[in-house]
């Protein structure tokens, strides 16, 4: 029972991270058919924003010293700002380009951000102590759970609810859903295209910042590649969920999280180092079974 509870919390908290990442990617894909590979680098950027630029091995904490109630909004704002800036400076110029071109542009942007960080902070991972007491395990019904896991899960659920309310209840949300399904048509109806896209980027950037905060608390280190692995999994999740489907992205994020944790438990110890190979194997099987993902959006099935 306690082992099961442990697995459940591990799966939910890992899945939450993947879900947040997948959501950030799916939002942008929805409004402009762009798979933004720079998303992982937004995550790293937000984390590094807490440090003072230096190439020393020891991290010089700067903004990270702010009280929590200021630090969190500040980092979210930085994420949103970077994301919106990349739309204005880079992606806006590719509005009518084909998706492959935009994807390459996002790769390029990702490298620019990564090497910018490399220049300021060097490639050495640094350790940083952010809310580390949250990682000290406490006992819940016999299982040893770090409070951070609980916070991650609760925060993710809160974000999902808030985002759902935003999409369903506000004018921006309505316009965003319409634009996600048929951008040209929405534009012809007078939907504020640029505003909607910027809003999507802002939300996506805030999601990246939230992931950054959780990751850095979890690991206690900052590293310029810290967003890359998560970005890859998140991208896979958006594909499995059905590109463009937001609920699909979230559910697939949780599924991959669960699959990863489960493999860690059920695989024989000798096979555990190859866990990811098994996870991605499951992904391949999944895509053979449903090539369009779990929840392919109705827009792609429209009658001709």
């Amino acid at each position: 029972m306690t082992a099961l509870l442990q697995i459940l919390f591990d799966a939910l908290s890992l899945g939450s991270l993947y879900a947040l990442g997948a959501l950030g990617i799916a939002l942008i894909f929805g409004v402009m058919r762009l798979v933004n590979f720079a998303h992982g680098d937004y995550i790293s950027f937000c984390v590094f924003a807490m440090l003072w630029p230096s190439i020393d091995a020891a991290a010089i904490v700067f903004a990270g010293k702010l009280p929590t109630y200021l630090l969190v909004p500040l980092i979210l704002l930085i994420g949103a700002g970077l994301s919106v800036l990349s739309e204005i400076v880079v992606f806006r110029r590719f509005r009518n380009a084909n998706p492959a071109t935009m994807m390459i542009a996002s790769f390029a942007l990702g490298f620019v951000i990564k090497y910018f960080l490399l220049m300021l902070y060097s490639s050495r991972p640094k350790s940083i102590d952010l809310w580390s007491n949250l990682s000290q395990q406490v006992e819940i019904m016999g299982a040893r759970i770090p409070p951070l896991q609980v916070i991650t899960i609760v925060v993710t659920i809160a974000i999902l609810l808030a985002l759902t309310a935003f999409l369903k209840r506000t004018r921006f949300g309505l316009e965003m859903r319409a634009a996600a399904e048929n951008f040209t048509m929405a534009r012809m109806l007078g939907v504020r295209a640029n505003m909607v896209i910027m809003m999507a980027f802002a939300v996506s950037g805030m999601l990246a910042a939230a992931i950054g905060l959780i990751l850095v608390t979890q690991t206690g280190t900052v590293d310029i590649n810290m967003g890359a692995n998560l970005m890859l999994v998140a991208f896979v999740a958006t594909v499995i969920g059905g590109l463009g489907s937001l609920p699909g992205a979230v559910i697939a994020g949780y599924l991959i999280g669960a699959a990863t944790v489960l493999m860690q438990v059920v695989l024989p110890p000798d096979a555990r180092p190859f866990r990811d190979a098994f996870v991605y194997g499951a992904v391949i099987v999944m895509l053979i079974w449903r090539p369009n993902g779990l929840f392919s959006s109705k827009a792609t099935k429209q009658r001709v």
């Binding site: 209840r169 506000t170 004018r171 309505l174 316009e175 859903r177 319409a178 399904e181 048929n182 048509m185 929405a186 534009r187 012809m188 109806l189 007078g190 939907v191 504020r192 959006s297 109705k298 827009a299 429209q302 009658r303």
Partner: protein
């Protein structure tokens, strides 16, 4: 001020291929104007020109006297020219109500006001019961009515209907006729009706333009169109006696 939407001397060519040549057409307010012609005659191209979807190669498009050739579609819509499309083109992942609301939002309304207007519009058309349904799963005729409702948001001055009766049964077409009459009488739109169902066009239109190979070959009231040799020729390709079968 002239109360009409008109094209004068409009030509459109796609890489040398003439889709429309020197077309003149007038859509007056509070009247139903018909636009008929064989497939490929250029009817939809003309609608595209009138709504800003297609920039004319030459010629003028005026809305109540104001030149609007080359104005982008969403601004044309804001100026009061709305249209429907041959294939519904609703947002299938959105509810029927949201489909209308988003048009209101696009026209600058707040969410609350847009929702109220959308609700009223659905009631007015008589499809209030569909409000919460996903637009993607609607039967064909309901989809058409929702599309008309979406176009009517904020009472446009002109409404362009691109083959609204396609795929409808006889009774459904009668119902559509009733709806169009109500639109003219109550919303006071000028309606341009593009339709293959000639019976419907002859029945409802005050004035009809016949387009063939990108040119207007006949203009007149239904009685004159019915009697026209040229029109019969365009449709049949011969002058064989086909009265009553085609028209």
């Amino acid at each position: 001020m002239v109360q009409s939407l008109s094209a004068s001397g409009v030509s459109v060519s796609f890489e040398g291929l003439k889709a429309l040549s020197n077309v003149t057409l007038d859509v007056p307010r509070e009247k139903v104007t018909g636009l008929i012609g064989p497939n490929g005659a250029g009817k939809t191209t003309l609608v595209n020109v009138l709504t800003g979807f297609q920039k004319p190669t030459s010629g003028q498009v005026t809305l109540d006297g104001e030149d609007i050739a080359g104005v982008p579609p969403h601004q044309v819509r804001q100026k009061g020219i709305a249209r429907t499309f041959q294939s519904g083109r609703l947002f299938s992942d959105l509810s029927v109500l949201d489909n209308l609301e988003v048009t209101g939002a696009g026209l600058g309304l707040s969410r609350g006001v847009a929702a109220k207007k959308a609700d009223d519009m659905l009631e007015w058309i008589g499809i209030g019961h569909l409000a919460e349904r996903m637009a993607g799963g609607l039967p064909y005729t309901d989809e058409r009515r929702v599309a008309i409702g979406r176009a009517l948001m904020l009472e446009p001055r002109y409404l362009l209907l691109d083959e609204p009766a396609a795929g409808m049964s006889a009774e459904e077409a009668v119902e559509l006729t009733r709806l169009i009459r109500r639109i003219v009488a109550e919303v006071k739109c000028g309606v341009l009706l593009i339709e293959h169902n000639i019976g419907l066009v002859l029945n409802i239109c005050d004035h009809i333009h016949v387009l063939d190979s990108g040119e207007v070959i006949e203009v007149g009231p239904p009685s004159a169109i019915k009697a026209s040799e040229k029109v019969r020729h365009a449709y049949m390709g011969t002058q064989a006696d086909a009265e009553g079968e085609v028209l």
